[in-house]
Each structure stands twice: as structure tokens, then as C-alpha cells.
């Protein structure tokens, strides 16, 4: 339907666990639940040390409009409120719960009453659901649209372009009913005119499961997308499905699109159906150091170590541990870090996979320019960054970089291009801040002079 598609790279799929029906992990002894598993203000704890909690019970309320509440993922006793070091390098408050193993649901669990748009948004807010594709943006905020007519299309992201990760695949295969409920919810309460499932065509089983939706419901369509990284990137998916370009500094909504990850939609539907908020997550456990890679459903806050142990432990010494896939995943320092709301995979890589090759000189081949989905020029950005030329970085639009890593993946000289982009972005924002302050100072001065006159 759409002629041109944004570029990207062909990454190895490594979907080893696509056929692995998720198994529920043995209840962990303790869970560590950080108050910041989403973009926005951290949640505020509402439980005290020593308090008994049950599964699904509120333990922290949203800390602001852009925030999300957090619920107990195990039944047990609150052991401590602690500051833990998270992957961003910051210390974040976390609630540590000692599990009693009973996994008793909280008495107050009941499906919310949803009758209209507002009650739907309230329910989404209460569900604790955030963008489960990885971004962790509070979903209720995304759905709080002032004018529903503005939304031309809901795009359900089933691209899952990251290597290894199959948790979205499992959502489409195992939670098809919840996705159907989700479609109905969007239609009923968000007045959805068009719902597009964007699925990479290397997942024909998923396409087969979702395609009947389109037959039953005229507003639904399934778009089979060529496997390409980063097909699931928000701006990329919007362009590749409805052909709209999200301009710099604007939101998808400005071009009439709302993108929801398929697992996010299923989680909303689950809460509205059962009343059980987001307390557990299907996580792909894979990587060359893992003995038996598979999908595991684990309570949020479960230490990584428990998941690896549940998957037969390590067959070789892990040299790199990742939250997420290998293209955008975050390396973590040890196996004690917990599973978060937006964790879709954890990987343990052996020595061979953990070490990335040393960079050599740029040969000006232009591959990075060819693969950048957003039309940036990483090779030129690198030069400008080295020369501390912020004005050029501004012209080269490094601020648009979504850090997908396609450039660094494809670079034959193995240059850390996306890494440089990240540094260049902060150099540029510092430069812009100075520019802004300068402009304000000048404006103030002019005003003063005028006043004197």
C-alpha cells in the first residue's frame, strides 16, 4: 500500500524461543520492585516495612500525571524500602518484599467498571500498564487524547524486530483473546476508526492468529512488514504502516497515530477483564551462555538470577548480561538486578558474544548513511563531534537519533557510531541551553534599554 519504506539493517533473527510456551517461574524468595520502571515521576510507596501484602495490592501510587502505580507481585511481607542502583546509573527507591510462596491474590481484586472514555482511561491508569515494548511510557498518558477524532489509526506493534526477543510473539500466539478484547476496548471507548497490526512477516504463525480479527472487524487490518530492524521503532512503524512522517518535536498523535505494543494492549485488556493489574511479565531468557533458553512468566521484581536458574543455569560463564535484546538492550553489572515492568528479555552472552570488535579507521563507505532509518549521517556526526562543532551537530540533526544502533551494527570499521551520537546529543543540548540563555539575556537587556529610553 505504501510505496516507500524507511531503511534499516538486516539483523540475525535468533528467535530461538519463538516456539517456547512461557512457563510460570517458581515464586522467588524476594522481589525488589523499583519505584521508577516508567518514564516520568517515580511512584510513591504507600506501604510500610513489616506490612503484609498480597498479589495485586497497591504498594506505590503514581507520583504525578506522567507516572504509574505499582502493585505487589508476590504475597508476603515488606522487608525494606531501599535505594538501589538501577541501569541508568542512578539510585532509585525500591520496595523489597519477602515472598511467603502462597501467591495469594489481594481481596480487592475486581474488574473495574468501564463505561466510557474517561472510565477507560482511569482503568488504564490504575492497571499500572506502561509501554511494554521497552520505552515504559505510562500508557494512560498516551491514551489521554483531548479530541478522539484526532486519532486516525491505532497501530499495534507486533514487529518485534530485536533479535532473540519473542515475548511479543508469545502474546500474539497465547493471548490472542486478550488482543481481541483490546481491539473491542479501543473501538468502544476510544472510537477507533482504524486499528492496524504491524507484524514482521517472519512470524507467519502470529499473522495467522491475528488475521481473523480483520475478517470479524472491518476497522482492523493486518500489515505484514518485511523483517527489518528497527521495524518496531515508533516513527519507523508509523511511516511504514500509514506513510506519515512524525515531524521533529511532534508526537505521533500530531499525525493522527497512536502506537501501542501488542503486549501493552493485552495487559490493558487483562486488567479490565480480571482486575489483576500488571504484576508479572513474560520474559525471553536467552543468549549463548544460557543452558535452556525459553520464555518465562515472572513476578515483577524477580532477580535475573532466578530466571537464569529456572532455565537450567549457565552452560558457560556469562560475560555480558542484558536487559532487552542485543540491539538496544542495556548491559547490567550483575544477576541480582530485578525484572521490570518493561523488561521483555534478559540475555546472558558468553565470552565470544560479549566482546564487540575493536574499532578501526572510518573508510568513508557511507554504509551508516545508507542504513539510518531517519536519514541521518553518523559518519559526519562523528567528525563534527570530534571537532566539538555543536553548530554542525545541530544542522546534522543528531537530536533526532533514536539510538537504534543500526549504524554501529552495520559499520565495517566497527566504529561506535550510535554511542558517539548519544554523546553528541548531550553536547548539542548543552550548546542549545547556552544559546537559549544567551538569547534570553539579550532580550532582557534590550527590554531594559527600552525601559530606560
Amino acid at each position: 500500500m505504501i510505496g516507500s519504506r524507511l531503511k534499516g539493517v538486516k539483523v540475525p533473527h535468533m528467535k530461538n524461543t519463538a516456539g517456547s510456551v512461557p512457563r510460570v517461574i517458581d515464586t522467588p524468595k524476594t522481589v525488589t520492585i523499583p519505584m521508577s520502571m516508567h518514564i516520568g515521576a517515580p511512584a510513591t510507596p504507600v506501604v510500610k516495612v513489616g506490612e503484609t501484602v498480597k498479589v495485586g495490592q497497591l504498594i506505590a501510587e503514581a507520583g504525578g500525571f506522567v507516572s504509574s502505580p505499582i502493585y505487589a507481585s508476590v504475597s508476603g511481607k515488606v522487608k525494606k524500602l531501599d535505594d538501589i542502583l538501577v541501569s541508568s546509573g542512578r539510585f532509585v527507591k525500591a520496595i523489597v518484599i519477602e515472598a511467603d510462596g502462597a501467591q495469594e491474590p489481594w481481596e480487592g481484586i475486581a474488574p473495574p467498571e468501564v463505561t466510557d472514555f474517561q472510565s477507560f482511561i482511569d482503568a488504564v491508569k490504575k492497571s499500572g500498564v506502561v509501554g511494554l515494548g521497552g520505552a515504559g511510557f505510562p500508557t494512560a498518558v498516551k491514551l489521554s487524547v483531548k479530541d478522539l477524532n484526532q486519532v486516525e489509526a491505532f497501530i499495534i506493534n507486533g514487529a518485534e524486530c530485536e533479535p532473540y526477543v519473542t515475548s511479543d510473539t508469545r502474546t500474539m500466539l497465547d493471548d490472542t483473546d486478550l488482543l481481541w478484547d483490546g481491539v473491542q476496548l479501543l473501538k468502544k471507548y476510544m472510537n477507533a476508526k482504524r486499528i492496524i497490526f504491524g507484524i514482521e512477516n517472519n512470524k507467519p504463525e502470529c499473522v495467522k492468529k491475528i488475521e481473523p480479527f480483520a475478517q470479524k472487524e472491518a476497522i482492523v487490518e493486518v500489515q505484514k512488514l518485511p523483517p527489518m530492524y528497527p521495524q518496531g521503532g515508533e516513527k519507523v512503524l508509523i511511516y511504514n504502516t500509514i506513510g506519515k512522517t512524525v515531524p521533529e518535536g511532534k508526537l505521533p498523535l500530531d499525525v493522527g497515530a497512536i502506537v501501542l505494543n501488542c503486549t501493552t494492549l493485552a495487559a490493558i485488556a487483562r486488567y479490565i477483564k480480571t482486575g489483576m493489574p500488571l504484576v508479572s511479565k513474560c520474559v525471553t531468557v536467552d543468549g549463548s551462555a544460557v543452558a535452556e533458553p525459553q520464555n518465562v512468566i515472572a513476578p515483577i521484581g524477580t532477580p535475573m538470577a532466578d530466571l537464569f536458574n529456572f532455565c537450567g543455569g549457565f552452560k558457560s560463564e556469562p560475560k555480558k548480561l542484558l536487559y532487552g535484546g542485543p540491539m538496544m538492550g542495556i548491559a547490567v553489572p550483575n544477576v541480582n538486578v530485578p525484572i521490570l515492568k518493561n523488561t521483555n528479555a534478559i540475555l546472558a552472552l558468553d565470552a565470544k558474544d560479549a566482546v564487540t570488535p575493536a574499532p578501526t579507521a572510518c573508510i568513508r563507505c557511507g554504509t551508516c548513511v545508507d542504513v539510518c532509518p531517519l536519514g541521518l549521517m553518523p559518519a559526519e556526526i562523528e567528525v563534527a563531534f570530534r571537532q566539538k562543532d555543536a553548530a554542525s551537530l545541530d544542522k546534522l540533526k543528531v537530536n533526532l537519533c533514536m539510538e537504534c544502533g543500526s549504524c554501529a551494527f552495520a559499520c565495517p570499521a566497527r566504529r561506535p557510531l550510535v554511542q558517539t551520537n548519544k554523546l553528541a546529543k548531550s553536547m548539542l543540548s548543552a550548546y542549545k541551553a547556552v544559546q537559549k540563555a544567551e538569547a534570553e539575556r539579550k532580550a532582557a537587556k534590550n527590554k531594559e534599554e527600552e525601559a530606560v529610553k
Partner: protein, 309 residues
Amino acid sequence: MNENVIGSVSPHIRGRRDTKAIMLDVIIALMPALVAAVILFGFRALLLTVISAGVCVICEYAWEKALKKEITIGDLSAVVTGIILAFNVPATMPIWKLIFGDIAAIILVKMLFGGIGCNFVNPALTGRVILFFSFTADMTNYAFPKNTVDALSSATPLAVQSELSWANFLDLFLGRHGGVIGEVCTLAILVGFVYLVARKVIKPIIPLTFIGSEILFAWLFGAEAPVLSAFAGGLMFGAVFMATDYVTSPITNKGKLIYGIGCGLLTAAIRCFSNSNGGVSFAILLMNIVVPYLNDLTRSKPFGGVKVK
């Protein structure tokens, strides 16, 4: 606690192709021309090629060793430079003179500017031009193919354009005429071209616009046989193997287009209005110099980007 894990920024995987693999592909693409050269000019063509490649590698190694820099000969780029330079001399070239050209190409053009990726002109091409001015007689003493009775008789078909006719097109195409080692056999060069494009080492933009615009401008400038002359001299080899050098050609598609047309225009102009040999070399060298400007002028358009004044 497991303190033995590596912390690094994503991505944690890399594509398979590295600089060495690309250079190896270029070397493979050069092989048909080498085979043709050996058939046409005998084993001296092979000898010169091997010596040239070897000297280039030794030069790079010695330079880096002497300056205590990281040794980069493993990337095979020096081998490519050596082969291409050898392909630019006649099979009769005295060996020491070729070595002189190799040293100039690697030390003067490549290493003095910072090694691979930093040279602003093509090393092999500059080596050729240096040899051309240093030893003009040797460089234009074009060897004749062996065992070919019906080979075109003039020094090089380009010198006497009136000899170019469709009747001896096959001789031109197969390389049965005088010339330098690597550029006589159009067929072999085209095989290399197809390989490079199929392996996605190069895009066809530069060779096609270069050759196409050369023919067009030669015709406009009143050349006797604009199409046939494209098969003579160094145009094919230059367009496929020298104008496409990554470092000295633009990184954007638009830039490549302008660069290819510029190369074609300059080649046609030199061929039609000057008696000088080596029009292709000078055209590419001149275009090499404007590459940074072409890159700046043809920057890609960021997706959804708002223009900065």
C-alpha cells in the same frame, strides 16, 4: 555478585562485514582483469602485480612500525592499492620504477595523511600520475598483447580514434590492443563490476554516470567515436575500480551522482581538447578534491527534521 561481566553501550552485536572483508571482495573483483592481463601480456603482468602489492604492504608496515603506530596491513587496503597501481602501468614497466610509484602511493599519499580513511586523493591513482610525470616514456610505451595477430595496431586505440570502428569492437572488448596491464580487457572489468555490485561493495551510480556522461560529453564535444572510445583507454577500469574508492568519493547518493557526472565531463574534456594521456586519472583526481564539498552540499534529509538556519 558477578563482577566479571562486561559493561558496554548497545548495540551488543555487529554485522558480519568488516573493512577486511570489503577489501577482499575488491581483490576478488580485480582477479578477472589479472587473468586477462596474464593471457594478454604474459607472466610479467602477474609478476608486476604481485611485487606492487607486496611493496605496498611492506611500505605500510614499515611506516607504522617506525612510527610505533598500530599495524593496519591486515585490512588488505594496501594490497588493493598495490594491485590497482600495477594495473595502471604497461607490462613492460621496469620493476624499480613501479616500486617507486608504490612508495609514493603508500607513504606520500596514504600514510602521511593519516593512513586508511584519511587520504584526500586516491593513492593508486596519484601513484600513477607521479609515475606518468616521472617516467612518461615508460608509462606510455604500451605493451602489445601476445599471440594476437589482428590486434589493433596503434599504440593505444584511444590515440588514433579513427582506428576505432565497430568492426574491431570485439578486439576492444576483449582487450586485444595495446594498453596498461589492467585496463585493456573490458569484459574482465565488467565481470568485476557485476561482482562488486552483487556483493553490495559498491553502488552502480558512480560507474554508470561516469561512463554515461563521458560518452554524452564526448559526443557533444565532437569526438569521432564517442561510444567506442568508452571501451578504450582507462575509462572502464577507472570508473569501476578507482572512482568508486570509498575514501575519495562522496558518501551520499546525490553526491555520487554529481561526482560521476563530473568525472565523465572532465574525462571527455581532456580526451577531446588535450593531447594528454591519462584523462581518466586526472578527471578522478580533480573530482577527489571536491568530495568534501559534495558531501556537505548533498547532506541527506533527516526524517521529519526541521531545518536549522
